[in-house]
Amino acid sequence: MSAAFLARDDLQRLIDALRREHRQVIGPQVRDGTIVFDALERASQLPVGVVDEQAPGRYRLKSDGSGRCFAWATGVQALKPLTFAPRETLWRAERGERGELRFLDTQPAVQPTAVIGVRGCDLAALHLQDQHFCYGAYADSYYNRRRRALFIVAVDCAHPAATCFCASTGDGPAASAGFDVALTELDDGFLLRAKSDRGQELLDALPVVAATDEQLGRAAGQHAAAVAAQKRALPGRDLRQALFARLGHPRWNEVAQRCLSCGNCTSVCPTCFCHSEGDVPTMDGRQVDHFRQWDSCFTPGHSYIHGWIVRGSARFRYRQWLTHKLGTWHEQYGRSGCVGCGRCIAWCPVGIDITAEARALVEGEPDARP
């Protein structure tokens, strides 16, 4: 696959081409002190010259004065809210005069959507959520509809944050799969590569020229620098046995002293899939909307069962999250549930670092065998 070059001034033409083919185009933009994915019409809405500074418990945007649109690592959310809605009605029930019940399926109205600016880590997370929601015995039609409406324009990450560790999980910093078109941003423009037929059609509609060796060389250098810039890493790709051999490790108690059980980590995690269901009746009681919304294994209600809470302490909740994310995901979906995006580190109010916790655990002594 040979790369094509699109001049920076022609980026708007890419957005226009997407807007012609899709009912809406979603892209990154600055809002609320972070970068969010929202409806995008003009290239000037992108975070031009914006970089993110991330550290445990810290996220700040600042200007670097460059003309780059994608000089940041990650915003607060990946694609998750676009496919797995934070809250949505699943079905509606109506009660008639004689108490009879009627159930109505309420599928979401979905329109073809192009997303620009997707990172490799977030694509890996999307693929994991696809496995969870689309390919089991029961396919989730709500997720499926939204997912299948997406056209994805990825952008290789050239500016990993200090919290990033996608190189150690194998999910970045370049986008390698799961996109229609991927971009590498250079100072003067973009290298484009198509993965799907639809992606190639998009490229064919743009005023691109063949990339030069010099441009490809700059892209390769940028990638190598992005890999080298990552100082954090998980202590291995498969920590299943290491973690389950240390369920009694004192570190669980120690991290529980710091963990607030707030659930920020799970709400920014692009692979966390837990959700709860509930009912909202109308005031006259004739109709009920049955909804689902994101839930977190850090809440007491998550493990509540008639009169007792299975995970009544932060120690058990953090252990559940970590042993699932880095351990039992392997048995469920063939790999770790962590894609190295680092969001749980930056958005944790007390700066708990998943890579440091995992390292402290697996480097510690295993439990004594009973």
């Binding site: 699943l90 079905w91 029930a93 009660r95 108490g99 009879e100 019940l101 009627r102 159930f103 109505l104 399926d105 599928q107 969870h132 929601f133 089991g136 015995a137 029961y138 989730d140 039609s141 389950f244 369920l247 899939f273 837990c274 959700h275 709860s276 269901e277 509930g278 009912d279 009746p281 009681g285 009920v288 689902r292 839930d295 294994c297 209600g301 998550h302 493990s303 509540y304 069962i305 008639h306 009169g307 299975v310 995970r311 302490s313 120690r315 058990f316 252990r319 559940q320 699932h324 039992t328 392997h330 048995e331 469920q332």
Partner: protein, 286 residues
């Protein structure tokens, strides 16, 4: 999973169907049984299930709860659910009367290994109020008594008022080649069964051969001790099956609440062969 349910054929497994309460029986001060029929005759006719599977029952305006199906699919037309009033939804469901409606979707999960048990000795052990799911399995085997070897029924309760179906156990005592063992930690003046703590009642279980299968239901710690005791007495570990429960909301392996290690209880359970959950069964917090 054997058979096909209506919900599996439908595109959306999340949406319940309307069912009518045809009969309601109060079993104890907190336990009641609902006999249900889908109001759509076609839905009712095409619904099949295995003993040990469960349904999600929906109380209008309040929410859903997972409840085991205790009827016999080959002998009963109505869907029977025995419910303990323990939480918000079941408290409301307790108020429903005959003729009233609720929502139902299912069946979900894996049932008891009744096919595998044919030709073998069978030991059924239940602890506390976890007895409703095993009552259906006991009824199933009593009805087909000749297909099974020696049958041992064990029920352990803490207090005598947790033993809610004494007449059933007395009836089962009279079934040929069947041993019934009942024990309470604290007895009472009229208590005619054993008084013993923890799993001591299992000392009286005789394992006659390796061709024995055991089915357990009750609190995790109780089942763990009972399973280890049975293994020590010659029951193969993979012939021991346990019924588990956790918070469940979607019942189709998506919502994440019922995860037990790598498994989803709604999908991979609620009945598991012991080796599958042995490592975590008695670890607090899982």
């Amino acid at each position: 999973m054997r058979g096909h349910s209506l919900t599996q054929q439908r595109p959306n497994a999340y949406v319940p169907h309307e069912a009518e309460i045809v009969r309601r029986v109060q079993e104890s001060s907190t336990i009641f049984t609902l006999y249900l029929r889908f109001t759509d005759p076609l839905a009712h006719a095409s619904y099949t299930y295995d003993p040990g599977q469960f349904n999600m029952l929906y109380l209008y305006g309040v929410g859903e709860v997972p409840i085991s199906i205790v009827s016999d699919p080959e002998h009963e037309d109505l869907l029977v659910h025995t419910i303990n009033r323990v939480g918000r939804v079941t408290r409301g469901m307790e108020q429903l009367r005959e003729g009233q409606r609720l929502g139902i979707r299912g069946p979900y999960g894996r049932g008891w290994p009744l096919r595998e048990a044919e030709g073998q000795d069978v030991i059924v052990v239940s602890g506390g109020l976890g007895c409703a799911p095993v009552v259906s399995v006991i009824n199933h085997m009593i009805r087909r008594r000749e297909r099974f070897g020696h049958f041992t029924i064990v029920q352990k309760v803490k207090r005598v008022d947790e033993f809610i179906w004494p007449e059933r156990y007395e009836r089962w005592q009279k079934v040929p080649d069947t041993t019934v063992l009942v024990a309470a930690t604290e007895g009472s003046a009229n208590w005619r069964w054993q008084v013993s703590g923890k799993i001591k009642v299992l000392d009286d279980v005789v394992v006659r051969s390796e061709r024995t299968i055991a089915m357990l239901c009750g609190p995790g710690g109780f089942m763990g001790s009972a399973a280890e005791h049975l293994i020590a007495n010659g029951v193969p570990a993979d012939a021991i099956y346990l019924s588990t429960e956790r918070n469940m909301q979607c019942a189709v392996g998506h919502c994440g609440h019922c995860q037990f290690g790598a498994t989803f209880i709604c999908r991979d359970g609620p009945i598991y062969p012991y080796p599958k959950i042995r490592q975590l069964l008695t670890v607090e917090g899982f």
